[in-house]
């Protein structure tokens, strides 16, 4: 492994300056569960890693209707918070099934996002919860929707010197529900063969006023299927409508075959998981 230096940053400015100085040769460190493994495997080389776990702003976890989640907050910290669990069920579903407990204790959702693998379990749920990424650098900050963050396998919109400080989510309405499910051959410690995150908002008469589905591991980036929203809006949350949504998902994805699954298997699973997560999201929306 190419020897790299370690900086334990304590302020946003310190992170900014290290990243500005080293460009592509530096990256922030949170859980290390992807970064250190990739460095060890020779995937790329760095001269510096900047530990951001000591930066106060990256550790914010603030629920005030909306949710602000610092990029250093571990998955375990999120799902152990009952109020957040109740208000953001899609995030909960994902946070609880990443890796094992050891990984959940370290890995953050922002780290999962920045790793930008198509199979990243938390990305779809953050999309359907309407997450906005707060990107900072020495030259300022900008906001990008989670949905627009990933640009390809392992690639994203971050420019040299930029990093994610936090992700914010709008306050869900009382008739909002969301869910995430992935398919893996084992019951834990696995990478999604396919995954689906769904959210629904119901109107006063119980009809669907808004629906969103984002699929994992079935394209170069998370696949948000707009056509499902179009189909479901104004409809009732019935098994038949969700079945139809599943068919749209089946047709909308363009997966590859690899060691984790085949094209046909992934398309099929996209349909099944879309239907199942929509149904679960509807249950949660009804429960308020």
């Amino acid at each position: 492994m190419h020897p790299f230096d370690y900086v334990a940053a304590t302020s946003v400015d310190q992170v900014n300056s290290v990243l500005a100085e080293h460009g592509k040769r530096a990256r922030p460190l949170v859980g290390g569960t992807d970064l250190l493994v990739q460095l060890r495997g020779g995937r790329f080389e760095l001269d510096v890693v900047v530990d951001i776990k000591g930066v106060p702003e990256a550790n914010v976890l603030d629920l005030n209707g909306s949710l602000k989640m610092g990029s250093a907050v571990s998955c375990a910290t999120v799902y152990e918070n009952e109020a957040i669990s109740a208000a953001f069920p899609g995030l909960m579903d994902a946070a609880e099934l990443i890796g094992g407990i050891q990984i959940q204790s370290r890995a953050s959702m922002a780290g999962n996002l920045c790793n930008s693998t198509p199979s990243g379990d938390t990305i779809g749920p953050m999309i359907v919860h309407g997450g906005q990424v707060n990107i900072v650098s020495s030259s300022g900050s900008r906001t990008v929707a989670v949905e627009d963050f990933c640009t390809g396998p392992g690639r994203n919109v971050l420019e040299d010197g930029e990093w994610v400080l936090d992700i914010t989510f709008p306050a869900p309405s009382s008739s909002f529900g969301a869910a995430y499910e992935r398919f893996i051959p084992r019951n834990e410690m696995d990478i999604a063969v396919a995954g689906a995150a769904s959210s629904l908002t119901l109107d006063g008469s119980g009809n669907i006023s808004e629906a969103k589905v984002s699929l994992a591991a079935v394209g170069p980036t998370p696949v948000t299927v707009g056509a499902i929203g179009d189909l479901l809006e104004g409809k009732t949350p019935t098994a038949e409508n969700f079945e139809a949504a599943g068919k749209i998902a089946y047709d909308a994805v363009s997966p590859i075959s690899d060691m984790r699954g085949t094209i046909e298997q992934r398309r099929h699973l996209s349909g099944v998981l879309t239907r199942r997560t929509l149904a679960k999201a509807a249950e949660r929306a009804k429960a308020g």
């Binding site: 020897p3 790299f4 460190l29 250190l36 493994v37 050891q102 370290r106 019951n187």
Partner: protein, 154 residues
């Protein structure tokens, strides 16, 4: 070349000070710098749990942590599990229930299981199996490990 980093930390309740290469994992640091070889390497990529330690109250795979990261923190390893009064009840239960065969995964399982029982003493079988899913054992089929954990709960 990069310079070594000076780290002050607390391991198994004792203050420790050492120099470590900044790119060295906590697993390597424990084993090669501090001679705490009870923590084992099985995969070095966060998928087997053999290197599980407690870092500031949470279990982590020490292969996915840098040695430099433990500055000012507390670490608990298998070497700190038994006290002056003897074995931890989990260690005793693992012996009595034959919950180990080759023993290489045992330290990781014990550290994980202890963390579970401290948080959730009433965990049911499914919860125990879920909590320990990050620890691979290839010898036992897990049966006797689960029974040993349950024995301590009883």
């Amino acid at each position: 070349m990069v310079d070594k980093i000076h780290v002050k930390t607390t391991i198994n309740g004792l203050p420790q000070e050492f120099l470590v290469d900044p790119f060295m994992s906590l697993l390597e640091t424990l084993r090669d710098v501090l001679n705490l070889t009870g923590t084992k390497e099985g995969c070095n990529d966060g998928n087997c749990g053999a290197c599980t330690v407690v870092l500031d109250g949470r279990i982590v795979d020490s292969c996915c942590v840098l040695g430099a990261e433990i500055e000012g923190k507390t670490v608990e390893t298998i070497e700190g599990m038994a006290g002056p009064d003897g074995l931890h009840p989990l260690q005793q239960a693992f012996l009595e229930e034959a919950a180990l065969q080759c023993g290489i995964c045992t330290p990781g399982f014990l550290v994980s299981a202890k963390a579970l029982l401290e948080r959730e003493p009433e965990a049911d079988e499914h919860r125990i199996r879920y909590w320990l899913a990050g620890n691979l054992c290839r010898c036992t089929g897990y049966d006797k490990i689960i029974k040993a954990v349950q024995k301590v709960q009883a």
